[in-house]
């Protein structure tokens, strides 16, 4: 009897835990392109005749103490709110060391190395579900100095700004830039956290907003205009989306014979089994639906973080 009671309690606990915890997004603070460009932390390369500039975060981290102060202050204040952030510098170092380890890894039995496709290599970047992009400029008027500070919370998948805080601090004759920067972070972090909280509240009320994309392999003999019982495959997928999204909320941004793009797709935070769900978990349902008769379309599911999934029709 005692054993039954204990097992029952553990089961109940498990069920309540799986219902209680949605997938937590990761956040990371990065300097904006504008800041990197203004301060000379850019890399330039030739992309088939076009000069392309991209931010050099590594150089910025190694040479600019102010950025460390700002990132560390924001990280500190967010951790204090129970939401520790990924640290850009540590993420870049981990990437480098993991890459070196992967290159050296060999199977004990066969001596074989780790397999890595070009897409795997491309995905090896410092990433987070929400990027906190910061910019600051030091304004000088005669001997007076002030700081204009901008914090933007950007969803990595929907490209939407989900939180923000900005403003210019009080001008000062004597305070040094790091002091003004710390003051700016202190002044803005509460509003930023409040905006983020509003975003999370909306997510809990209306579901997670994700992007779902449908594409097809070149050698697939059908397309999104292929008809099944008088309905085009694209419309069938739209119907499935309507039936499975939270309150049927999604927008069809693009629909051609080769691809479909669904934006503002609101998915439930938990799936039918009560487990925390994300874009990949949601798209798995669609993938399975398409694999089954009458469609019987083999497909490949590719994910990107919590908020983006792509189904490629026609094979794995």
């Amino acid at each position: 009897m005692k054993k039954i009671f204990i097992v029952g309690s553990l089961l109940l606990m498990g069920v309540s835990l799986s219902f209680g915890q949605a997938k937590k997004p990761t956040l990371m603070v990065v300097p904006s392109d504008v800041w990197c460009n203004t301060n000379g932390y850019m890399m330039e390369f030739d992309d088939q005749g076009t000069k392309v500039k991209i931010p050099d975060y590594k150089k910025a981290m190694q040479e600019n103490a102010d950025i460390l102060l700002v990132i560390s202050s924001i990280n500190e204040m967010m951790a204090e709110r129970g939401f520790p952030l990924k640290n850009l510098e540590s993420a870049m170092k981990s990437l480098a060391s993991n890459s070196a380890e992967d290159n050296m890894m060999a199977s004990k039995g066969s001596g074989s190395g780790l397999s890595e496709s070009p897409i795997d290599a491309l995905k090896k970047t410092a990433k987070a579900d929400i990027i906190i992009q910061m910019t600051w400029t030091v304004n000088t008027t005669g001997p007076k100095k002030s700081i204009t500070f901008i914090l933007q919370g950007l969803d990595s998948y929907t490209d939407k700004q989900i939180a923000g805080a900005s403003g210019t601090g009080a001008p000062s004759f004597s305070a040094e830039t790091p002091v003004l920067l710390k003051e700016a972070v202190t002044a803005h972090i509460d509003n930023f956290a409040a905006a983020l909280q509003t975003h999370f509240d909306d997510m809990f009320a209306n579901g997670r907003e994700v992007i779902i994309k449908i594409q097809k392999w070149d050698d697939f003999d059908g397309d999104l205009e292929t008809e099944f019982e008088g309905n085009e495959l694209g419309s069938i997928i739209e119907e499935w989306m309507g039936a499975n999204t939270q309150s049927g909320r999604f927008s069809t941004t693009d629909m051609t014979e080769n691809m479909a793009l669904f934006e503002q797709v609101r998915i439930p935070l938990y799936n039918a089994a009560g487990k925390a769900s994300d874009a990949r978990d949601f798209a798995k349902g669609l993938s399975k639906f398409l694999k089954e008769p009458p469609y019987s379309i083999p497909n490949k599911l590719v994910m990107k973080g919590l908020g983006r999934a792509t189904i490629i029709l026609g094979g794995k």
Binding site: G20, Q21, A22, K23, K24, S73, M77, M78, E80, R81, G82, F83, S146, A165, G167, T168, G169, A170, K182, E183, A184, T186, A187, H188, D190, N191, A193, A194, L196, Q197, T198, F200, D201, F204
Partner: protein, 173 residues
């Protein structure tokens, strides 16, 4: 006998006067508390404090200046929870209230009644700024007094989160 009667009369008069004065004080205090509940105060930012704190000036109303000064702390905490403030000079940025739901005060009435009781828990999260003297102004029949106070907003937020009154950033994850 006459002396005893005189003494008794004097004592009665003193007692009555004392009762009237204290009753008037209680009434004024009650009125000040009602003003807080009705959000009859003004709150403005006076500077960026240390991390985790907010330095604000609170303007409270009362027929007695001392009551308005004492009510300032309660009004400041009330303001940080329910009202927030707009930006101003000294690099102040506008701040949203800790409670995102305007109806929270009514929904959790019992909690806030105890929290804002005289000498209640709110006192833990506020202190008057030592170098700032109150600024009383006579407005009609009452005083409007501005007092600079420091609210330990981070501790206040954590306490309200722990009590389940407001949601924390990580709640639900």
């Amino acid at each position: 006998m006459k002396r005893i009667i005189n003494k008794a009369s004097i004592l009665t008069i003193i007692f009555l006067a004392f009762t009237l004065v204290s009753s008037a004080q209680i009434n004024k205090k009650k009125k000040a508390n009602e003003d807080t509940e009705n959000w009859r105060y003004e709150i403005e930012c006076v500077g960026i404090g240390k991390p985790g704190t907010k330095v604000v000036k609170v303007w409270s109303y009362s027929k007695k200046a001392t009551i308005a000064i004492n009510q300032a702390k309660k009004n400041a905490v009330h303001g940080i929870i329910f009202q927030g403030y707009s930006g101003g000079a000294q690099g102040c940025t506008s701040q949203k209230p800790l409670a995102s739901d305007p109806a929270l005060e009514q929904q959790k009435a019992e909690f806030f009644e105890n929290f804002f009781a005289d000498e209640g828990k709110f006192m833990k999260f506020v202190s008057t700024s030592g170098d700032a003297t109150p600024e009383p102004m006579k407005v009609g029949k009452e005083y409007k007094v501005g007092v600079v106070v420091t609210v330990m907003s981070d501790n206040l937020r954590k306490d309200l989160e722990a009590a389940g009154i407001i949601k924390g950033l990580s709640s639900g994850f």
